[in-house]
Amino acid sequence: MEGAGERKRGVRLCCVCKKARASVKRPKTLDHICRECFYHAFESEIHQVIIRNSLFRPGERVAIGASGGKDSTVLAYVLSKLNRLHNYGLHLFLLSVDEGITGYRDDSLETVHRNQVQYGLPLKVVSYKDLYGWTMDQIVDVIGFKNNCTFCGVFRRQALDRGASLLKVDKLVTGHNADDIAETVLLNLLRGDVARLSRCTSITTGEDGPIPRCKPFNPNLDSFITYAYFKRLDYFSTECIYSPNAYRGFAREFIKDLERIRPRAILDIIKSGENFRISTTTKMPEQGTCERCGYISSQKWCKACVLLDGLNRGLPKLGIGRSRGSVGSENGNESKVEKSIQGKQCGTLDF
């Protein structure tokens, strides 16, 4: 809008440097800027987030969760650049999880392998097969296409933590766009997860745990995609073959619609999430450790152990949905248990 007066023979000039041709419209301010100014703005936004929240200390070992997708590729690129530029003094690593999904993860892992060379960052891959003895392909064979994302999500979270501890890193960073976080706020609101609702907007989580996680997202809504596109970054952009209409997609569609009407809605959702004051009388899950594997868990067994136990016992639907019974003590008539679980419709969507 502002650049309207600076048209020169139909070519709009960048409203920052006023020299180069503008090629990007920034979603928040609607300013038209050129590529170089866009790069600069994008990188300095992330730098500001890192400095403001003092995310890192010199000498720290930091793992970047790398899926090969646009967000993590951009984060890896920008973080390694900023590390050099501003002398953060960080030792950066790429950490990937191999879920064992043929036709999806094997291809995206190749991208990560190329990134390893391109950015000169050491890479560690942890696989579901090694950690749990099951690949996602095998799990889907057993459970089908419904609820498989529950397994994948729970296993991935733990796999990232295990990989990070193998790398002996101090922090784990993950690539998130502002709309990912807005989406998470909405989803937590929709499904009644008060504990996550209260912490999903904070940049650093799990500070009391072994390895804190942070998500230095860009608060100015500049799309990671635009950055990746202009920088010609090597990323993998296929959707997972097992989640054609996962529940998250519902919320994502809604957010896209919102963005069309009002771009700043995404930031407003995050702002709302930050300003929610959860009543102190609300019962929050108490954090303990899993009796089986020692991972952080609010229950006797962590979710991954419950799911894995179900898989290994041939009861893959154990631990999905609302059944809150403690699994470890269920030694009764197994065939009966199976029957009652099979009889129950798998309608509870664990999104």
Binding site: D257, D268, S279
Partner: protein, 458 residues
């Protein structure tokens, strides 16, 4: 306690146990053998379905109605919404929710009247009920014949709900201006035309509507305003308020009681689903009014279609949303203010005290947005000492919440000035209160040391 386990030889206990053990099994058997579904409550009539929620298809028509009325009555009594001495104003838009609210309030009043007539000492008076219908045709483009028809229908509905008699107030929205209605209409049109954002227009109308309700209530001496907001409506509000960045003030709007206004507002249908309400209207043939205004491309419209999509997918989604948002800390004004007046029967006061006790945790807020009256987050409260401009329109702009600033207020200074001039005086008056807020906060802190209650001395 006396007979625990093996020590007890008397056959009575044993028999008792046997009976209680057998009962549930029996009822399970009848359930499973019967192909046509019988109401789970009375076990007599056939169950009806179509009212949504998790109970859909479980109750017969009568039990469904009793159940729905029960939800209403529980909300009313457990929050001390209506007490015998009250004068209640039902905000009736003509839609199904407020129609049901009106019906239920009437049913309750009718019962109270019967009890009053039957009681010997007549100690508990019957609460009074009035109905208000706001004519918004000067803001929305409603065909005049439709509005005339609606007014007629509303009149018929209210006159059918007797005895006890109910006053009906039909008021144009421009009543928020104290000047004569012609001038008010013009100012109102100016204000609404300045708001360019479609969502902002809808929300502005909402603010004005509340202002009009408050005005009618205080003019005619009502001390409660009943809104028909149902759980579906509140779920939509939770999401749209989140989308508009109102996460801080959101809990204020979704409680049973909202006493931040001069006349407290109560939401007795907070636990009823829209589908249940529609079902009741169908079953009892309750007449409703619908205007032919097309849905705009606003955030509110987008949210409500999103929520109804989710509700279709999962019949308890709306209540999950409201329950989650219910975990957010409410504000101090989210309860009926306690009565100190000695004329009120002791029983009433005692009841109120008991129910008010549970809201022990709340946030006190002393600054409100002059436009939408939502409590302001500390980041939205202006430091007046740093204000460089002294134009009252600028001061007004600065004292609004960030959501109103974005979607309602004009961005340039000249249109802001015009907008400010055209606003109802009661909104402008609120802004002045905000700028005095800091002073009153100070007063609050030193209250224990002040000897006089008067403002003038300070």
């Amino acid at each position: 306690m006396a007979c625990n386990g093996s020590g007890c030889q008397s056959g009575v206990c044993y028999k008792d146990e046997d009976v209680t053990r057998n009962q549930p099994i029996k009822s399970e058997e009848t359930d499973s053998t019967n192909p046509t579904k019988v109401c789970i409550k009375c076990k007599l009539n056939d169950a009806v379905s179509g009212y949504g929620g998790i109970d859909d298809g479980r109750f017969c028509a009568d039990c469904f109605k009793t159940n729905l009325f029960g939800k209403f009555r529980f909300a009313v009594t457990s929050n001390a919404m209506i007490t015998p001495t009250d004068k209640v104003l039902v905000a009736f838009s003509g839609g199904p929710s407020s129609r049901v609210a009106l019906q239920f309030v009437h049913d309750m009043q009718e019962r109270a009247q019967r009890n009053f007539d039957a009681s010997r000492d007549r100690s508990l008076p019957v609460f009074a009920v009035g109905v208000v219908f706001i004519d918004e045709s000067s803001v929305l483009s409603i065909p005049s014949n439709e509005m005339e028809e609606a007014v007629e229908v509303v009149g018929e509905i209210v006159s059918s709900l007797v005895p006890p008699r109910k006053d009906l107030h039909i008021v144009p929205i421009e009543t928020v201006y104290s000047a004569d209605s012609g001038e008010g209409k013009e100012s109102l049109a100016n204000v609404m035309n300045t708001v360019s954002d479609p969502t902002g227009r809808e929300d502005m109308l909402l603010c004005l509507r509340m202002l009009a309700l408050q005005k009618v209530a205080s003019e005619y001496g009502y001390n409660r305003i009943v809104l028909g907001s149902c759980i579906s409506r509140i779920a939509c509000h939770v999401i749209s308020a989140t989308v508009k960045g109102q996460g801080y003030s959101l809990p204020a709007d979704i409680q049973y009681v909202d006493a931040r206004w001069e006349v407290p507002v109560v939401l007795p249908l907070r636990d009823c689903f829209a589908q249940e309400i529609n079902m009741l209207c169908r079953l009892d043939g309750l007449k409703t009014v619908k205007f032919s205004t097309g849905p705009g491309s606003s955030i509110n419209g987008l949210v409500s279609s999103f929520v109804s999509l989710l509700q279709e997918e999962n019949p308890s989604r709306e209540s999950t949303i409201v329950r989650t948002a219910g975990k957010l800390t409410p504000f101090q004004f989210n309860r009926i203010p306690e009565i100190i007046d000695g004329n009120v029967p002791l029983a009433t006061r005692r009841r109120q005290k008991r129910y008010n006790l549970k809201s022990n945790e709340s946030v006190s807020s002393e600054s409100f947005c002059p436009l939408c009256n939502s409590p302001l987050h500390k980041s939205e409260i202006v430091d007046w000492s740093n204000m460089d401009s002294h134009r009252s329109s600028d001061l007004f702009n600065k004292s609004c919440c960030s959501s109103c600033q974005f979607q309602i207020l004009p961005s340039d200074s000249t249109s802001m000035e015009q907008f400010y001039m055209d606003l109802p005086r009661s909104m402008v008056g609120r802004a002045k209160q905000v700028s005095n807020g800091k002073l009153s906060l100070l007063r609050e802190q030193i209250q224990d040391f002040l000897l006089s209650d008067g403002e003038d001395e300070t």
